[in-house]
C-alpha cells in the first residue's frame, strides 16, 4: 500500500513539532525517517496512527484521503505500529496478546483461542519467526517480544508498518534478525516506515531516507550516502563520528579485580570469577550482548550488589564490602546504565541533580544546610561547560532530552575528583551530536590519567573508545583483547567463542 503524507503540521502551543512535512512511502519500500531525538519523528507517526490530530495537511493511503480519529481507524485502514516500548500484557500468552483488542468469540461469548493460536502459527511460519503461541510474554526475550508486536500488527492485515526506534532495546544479533524480517516483509509487499537515529541500520536496510530536523524535512538521501553526510544532515553541522584519541599513556595498574563473583537473588552466578586490571590513563571497554553480566559487574564495582565475592582493589584499597557512599568517596565516578531510573531524579532541577551524590558535605552542604548559591554557581558553570541545552538550571531534568540528561550525569560525575570512572552504556538513547561530545569527555578523562571502564553493547562504541576490550559471555570473561581487534572476531567472542588470537594484551 502506498502511504502519502502531505503538508502535515502539528503544533503544541507555540512549538511547531511538525512543519508541513511531506512524506511518500511506496508499496514494498523501507523508508527511513532519520532525525535526532526531538526532531518530530514520533509526533509525525502519532499523527499517522491517529493518536494526535494534525492541525493541517492530509494522510493518503493508495491516493485516498483518510481521516483517523484514533488508532482504531488507523488499524482498520491497514496501518500497524511497533512501538519502542512494547504494548504487551506480560501475564498473557502470545496468542492472547495477539488477539487482544479484536477478539474472536465462539457461541456464548467464549474466546476462540484456537483460532488465535492458528493465526500466530500461520504468521510465524510465513516469516520463520519461531514463536510459540502459548508462551507467556513475560518469559520471552526482548527480541522475541518485538516479534510478537510485529505478529500483532500483521494479524490485523497491516500493510503499512511503522517501526518506532525498534532497535533501541535489541542486541546486535537481534538487530540483525530484525533487519532480515524487515526485508522479508518488504518483499511480501508491506510498506515500512523505519524510525531511528542509528546510521548503520539506516544504510543497511533503507531504500530511501528522509531526514527531519526541528520539525521540518531537511532533505532526502540515498542509502549510499556516507555516515558523515547523514549525520551532518541530522544535526545541521559537520559531526565527527570517529573519536580522536592519542595512544594511551599508561600508568601503573589502578583497579585490580580478582575472582569477582556476583550472585543474584535467585542464587545464580551472574558474574562468574571475573578478573582484570585497568591501568591509569587507559580505557577498558567491556563488550557483550546485553544481559551477560556487564550490568551486575558495574553495579558490583560501586557497591550496589548485595552478594559479591572476590576482591576489587582501587589503588590498593579493597572496595568489596564498602557502602556505595564510601566507594563514591573513594573517587569512583559512576554513569549508570539507565539514567532515568538510576542516574537522575526526574522531578529534581538540573542543579539539584548535579549535587545528588554529594549531599553529604562540602562544598554543597555546610552545617546541614544546602548551599544554594554555591550550587547555583556550580550548576551555571557546568551547564555552560557541558553544553546542556536548557532554559535554566531550575528546569526539571525529566524535561530534558536524553542527550542533555546524560550530559548532566556526566557533568556531575566528572566534576568530582576521580580515581576511577565506570560508565555503563554512556550513549544509549543519545543523539548523534551528544554522542560525539560524551565520547570526547570520556577520552579526556582517560588522558587526565584516570582509569576508565566503559560498558557498551554497541560495537561501534566499544571499538571507538577502547584501549583494550574485555568480552563477557554468561557472566564470564571470554577474553581480553587489544582495542583494534576486528569486529568479526569480537562478534564471535560475544557469542561465547574464545578468540584464536593469543590474548596478548590480557
Amino acid at each position: 500500500m502506498k502511504l502519502e503524507l502531505r503538508g502535515i503540521t502539528k503544533t503544541f502551543g507555540t512549538l511547531v513539532a511538525n512543519d508541513h512535512i511531506d512524506l511518500t512511502v511506496e508499496a514494498g519500500e523501507i523508508h527511513c525517517l532519520l532525525g535526532e531525538n526531538g526532531a518530530g519523528k514520533s509526533t509525525l507517526m502519532n499523527v499517522l496512527y491517529g493518536l494526535y490530530q494534525a492541525d493541517g495537511g492530509e494522510i493518503l493511503l493508495d491516493d485516498r484521503v483518510q481521516h483517523f480519529a484514533g488508532p482504531g481507524d488507523a488499524m482498520r485502514a491497514g496501518i500497524g505500529m511497533v512501538h519502542q516500548h512494547f504494548m504487551l500484557i506480560p501475564v498473557f500468552t502470545v496468542a492472547e496478546n495477539v488477539m487482544l483488542g479484536h477478539e474472536q468469540t465462539k457461541a456464548g461469548g467464549r474466546l476462540d483461542l484456537p483460532a488465535a493460536r492458528a493465526k500466530v502459527r500461520e504468521i510465524s511460519d510465513r516469516f520463520g519467526f519461531d514463536v510459540d503461541p502459548d508462551a507467556l510474554v513475560d518469559d520471552l526475550p526482548v527480541g522475541v517480544q518485538q516479534r510478537v508486536e510485529i505478529i500483532k500488527a500483521l494479524s490485523r492485515d497491516a500493510r503499512v508498518l511503522v517501526f518506532d526506534e525498534p532497535t533501541a532495546v535489541l542486541t546486535p544479533q537481534e538487530t540483525d534478525e530484525l533487519m532480515a524480517i524487515m526485508r522479508q516483509l518488504k518483499e511480501s509487499g508491506t510498506s515500512i516506515v523505519f524510525i531511528t537515529h542509528k546510521l548503520r541500520e539506516v544504510r543497511e536496510v533503507a531504500d530511501r531516507i528522509t531526514v527531519i530536523r526541528l520539525g521540518k524535512v531537511v532533505g532526502e538521501a540515498s542509502p549510499t550516502a556516507t555516515n558523515a553526510e547523514l549525520a551532518s544532515l541530522m544535526v545541521g553541522r559537520a559531526v565527527e563520528l570517529t573519536v580522536q584519541k592519542a595512544p594511551p599513556t599508561l600508568g601503573e595498574p589502578a583497579l585490580v579485580v580478582d575472582g569477582l563473583t556476583v550472585i543474584d537473588p535467585i542464587g545464580q552466578l551472574v558474574v562468574n570469577d571475573v578478573s582484570f586490571e585497568v591501568r591509569r590513563g587507559e580505557i577498558l571497554a567491556v563488550a557483550g550482548v546485553q544481559g551477560n553480566g556487564q550490568t551486575e559487574l558495574t553495579e558490583a564495582l560501586v557497591g550496589l550488589q548485595p552478594r559479591v565475592q572476590g576482591s576489587m582493589r582501587l589503588d590498593g584499597n579493597e572496595l568489596n564490602g564498602d557502602s556505595v557512599r564510601s566507594i563514591l568517596n573513594a573517587g569512583v565516578g559512576f554513569v549508570p546504565e539507565d539514567r532515568k531510573e538510576d542516574g537522575l531524579v526526574g522531578e529534581f532541577s538540573i542543579a539539584e541533580n548535579l549535587m545528588l551524590d554529594r549531599a553529604d558535605g562540602a562544598p554543597f552542604v555546610k552545617g546541614g544546610n544546602v548551599q544554594l548559591s554555591t550550587l547555583a554557581a556550580f550548576a551555571e558553570e557546568k551547564v555552560a561547560e557541558y553544553d546542556v541545552r536548557t532554559p535554566s538550571i531550575e528546569t526539571k531534568v525529566g524535561r530534558l532530552s536524553g542527550g542533555n540528561q546524560q550530559k548532566v550525569v556526566l557533568a556531575r560525575e566528572l566534576s568530582r575528583d576521580l580515581r576511577l570512572l565506570v560508565a555503563a552504556q554512556p550513549t544509549r538513547g543519545v543523539d548523534v551530536g551528544s554522542i560525539e561530545f560524551i565520547h570526547k569527555r570520556i577520552v579526556e578523562t582517560r588522558d587526565a590519567g584516570v582509569p576508565v571502564v566503559v560498558v557498551s553493547t554497541e560495537l561501534d562504541e566499544v571499538t571507538a573508545l577502547a584501549d583494550r576490550i574485555m568480552v563477557m559471555y554468561r557472566g564470564r570473561v571470554v577474553g581480553i583483547v587489544p582495542g583494534d581487534t576486528p569486529r568479526d572476531v569480537l562478534g564471535l567472542m560475544m557469542a561465547g567463542e574464545s578468540p584464536n588470537l593469543e590474548g596478548a594484551a590480557a
Binding site: 560501586v302 557502602s323 556505595v324 537522575l344 549535587m355 545528588l356 541545552r389 530534558l400
Partner: protein
C-alpha cells in the same frame, strides 16, 4: 465531631484500597522500589499536584455543599411543592437557606458580627486556630512522610501514644512550671516518633509495607492505651472506674496565648514553628534533599550513595514526632481535664486529607489545616444557628478529597488545560515552552 469508635470503618476502607500484593522478603533493590508502583505514582500526582486544583476542589465542594444544604432545608422543600405556581418562593428559600448556613459558618469560624465588641467577635477565629493546631502538626507529619515516598496512615496510633506519654508525665510528676511542660512535650514527641519509627524500621529492614504496619499499629496503640486507661496506677485516674486520666497538672499545661476567654494555646505557636522547621528540612537542609531524592526516585538515590533505608527510618521518626505534637497539643492544650481513648478525635485521619489538600508542602499544610479548623469551628455554629446537619461539613470535607483525587474531573469542570498534554519530548530548543506550563 469526628471522634471515631474503635471499630471505625475508615481503617478497613484504607486497607482495602491500599494493600499491594505480598512482597518477597528483603533483597537489596526491589523492596525499596516495588512499592513505588502505580499506587505511589498516582498518589504522588494527587499529593503534589497543582495548587489551582486544591483551591478549585474546595470551591466545588462548597458548591455541592450548598446544593445539599438547599435540598435538606425544610423551607425549601415546602416552597418547592408549589414551584410551578410561584418559582420565586423556591429560589428565595434556597438563597436564604444557603446564605444563612454559610454566613453562620463564617460567623462561627472567623468573625461574629452579632457580638458587640471586637474581643468577643474575633473569638471564632481563635477557635478555628485552636482546632487547626493539631491538624497542622499531624498534617505536616503525613506530608513529610509522603515526600519521602511513604504513606503514614498511623496518625491515630502515634497521636494516642504521644498523648498517653505526655499525659502521664503531665499528671503524675511534680516539676516546676516550664520544665514540666517541656518534659511532657518531649515525652510525647518521643513516643510518637518511636511508634512511627517501628514502621520505618520494619520497612527498612524487612521491606514490610508501611501502610499495613501503620494501620495495624493504630489498633495496637488504641487497645494498649485503652488498657492503660482501665488499669489503676497507669493512666486511670485514682478512685475512678472510668477509663479516663486525671486532669493535667497546671505546671504542665500550655499557657493560653490570648488570655482566659480564648481557648487558643501555646500549641499553636509550636505548630507554626513546626511548619517553619519542616520547610527548612525539606527545602534547605541536606537531610531533606536526601529525603526528597528518596521520595522521587529511590533507585537514583541509592546509586548516588544515599542510604535509602536510613532515610525511611529518619523520615518516619520525624513524621511520628510531628504527629506526636498533635497529640501533645490535645492533652496539654485543648482537653486538659483528663482524656480518654477518643483523644485523637480522628485527627490522625483528617491529617491525611490536610496533607493532600496542602499538596504535601509545609505552607500548603498550614493553609489546609486552618481551613479544616474552620470547618470544625464553623460546622458547630452552622448546626446551632441554622439547623444544618453537621454531617454536611463532613460531606464537604470528603468531597474536597474526592475532587483533589480526581484532577481531570476538576479540570473538565473548569476547562483547564491538562498538564503534559503537550509533546512528551523536550527538544533542547523547545524546553522553554514546555516548562512554561
Amino acid at each position: 465531631m469526628t471522634t471515631q469508635s474503635p471499630n471505625d470503618p475508615d481503617v478497613a476502607v484504607e486497607t482495602g484500597s491500599q494493600v499491594p500484593p505480598a512482597e518477597p522478603v528483603t533483597r537489596q533493590p526491589e523492596p525499596d522500589v516495588e512499592p513505588e508502583s502505580r499506587w505511589h505514582r498516582a498518589f504522588r500526582e494527587i499529593a503534589t499536584g497543582n495548587a489551582i486544583i486544591s483551591v478549585l476542589a474546595v470551591l466545588l465542594a462548597l458548591l455541592v455543599g450548598a446544593i445539599m444544604i438547599a435540598f435538606t432545608d425544610e423551607r425549601v422543600q415546602e416552597a418547592s411543592v408549589y414551584f410551578f405556581a410561584r418559582p420565586g418562593d423556591t429560589f428565595i428559600a434556597i438563597w436564604e437557606s444557603v446564605s444563612g448556613a454559610y454566613s453562620a459558618f463564617f460567623q462561627g469560624s472567623i468573625y461574629n458580627f452579632r457580638r458587640p465588641d471586637f474581643a468577643t467577635g474575633i473569638r471564632p477565629l481563635t477557635e478555628t486556630l485552636t482546632f487547626a493546631t493539631p491538624l497542622i502538626a499531624a498534617g505536616l507529619g503525613v506530608a513529610l512522610a509522603f515526600r519521602v515516598g511513604m504513606f503514614n496512615i498511623g496518625g491515630r496510633g502515634q497521636m494516642l501514644m504521644a498523648s498517653a506519654a505526655a499525659g502521664w508525665v503531665a499528671f503524675s510528676f511534680d516539676l516546676p512550671w516550664g520544665v514540666h511542660m517541656l518534659v511532657a512535650l518531649l515525652a510525647g514527641l518521643l513516643a510518637g516518633a518511636l511508634w512511627a519509627g517501628i514502621a520505618g524500621l520494619l520497612k527498612a529492614r524487612t521491606g514490610a509495607h508501611e501502610v499495613i504496619v501503620t494501620i495495624m499499629l493504630n489498633y495496637v496503640a488504641l487497645y494498649l492505651v485503652t488498657w492503660m486507661l482501665r488499669t489503676p496506677g497507669l493512666l486511670q485516674a485514682p478512685g475512678s472506674n472510668n477509663p479516663k486520666t486525671p486532669p493535667m497538672k497546671d505546671t504542665a499545661i500550655f499557657p493560653e496565648l490570648l488570655g482566659p476567654q480564648y481557648n487558643l494555646h501555646f500549641g499553636f505557636i509550636l505548630a507554626i514553628a513546626a511548619v517553619v522547621l519542616v520547610w527548612w528540612i525539606l527545602d534547605r537542609s541536606a537531610l531533606g534533599f536526601q529525603f526528597r531524592a528518596v521520595g522521587e526516585n529511590p533507585n537514583a538515590a541509592r546509586v548516588a550513595g544515599i542510604n535509602v533505608k536510613s532515610m525511611y527510618v529518619y523520615a518516619m521518626l520525624i513524621s511520628g514526632a510531628l504527629i506526636g505534637l498533635a497529640g501533645v497539643s490535645q492533652v496539654l492544650g485543648t482537653v486538659t481535664t483528663g482524656f480518654s481513648s477518643g483523644i485523637d478525635a480522628g485527627i490522625g485521619f483528617d491529617a491525611i486529607t490536610v496533607a493532600l489538600l496542602g499538596r504535601s508542602t509545609p505552607w500548603g499544610v498550614l493553609a489546609a489545616g486552618i481551613l479544616f479548623g474552620a470547618f470544625k469551628a464553623g460546622g458547630f455554629a452552622m448546626q446551632a444557628a441554622e439547623g444544618v446537619p453537621i454531617d454536611i461539613v463532613l460531606v464537604v470535607q470528603s468531597l474536597i478529597v474526592l475532587f483533589i483525587a480526581a484532577p481531570p474531573l476538576v479540570r473538565a469542570i473548569f476547562r483547564l488545560p491538562a498538564p503534559g498534554s503537550g509533546p512528551r519530548r523536550a527538544a533542547p530548543t523547545t524546553t522553554k515552552e514546555v516548562t512554561a506550563k
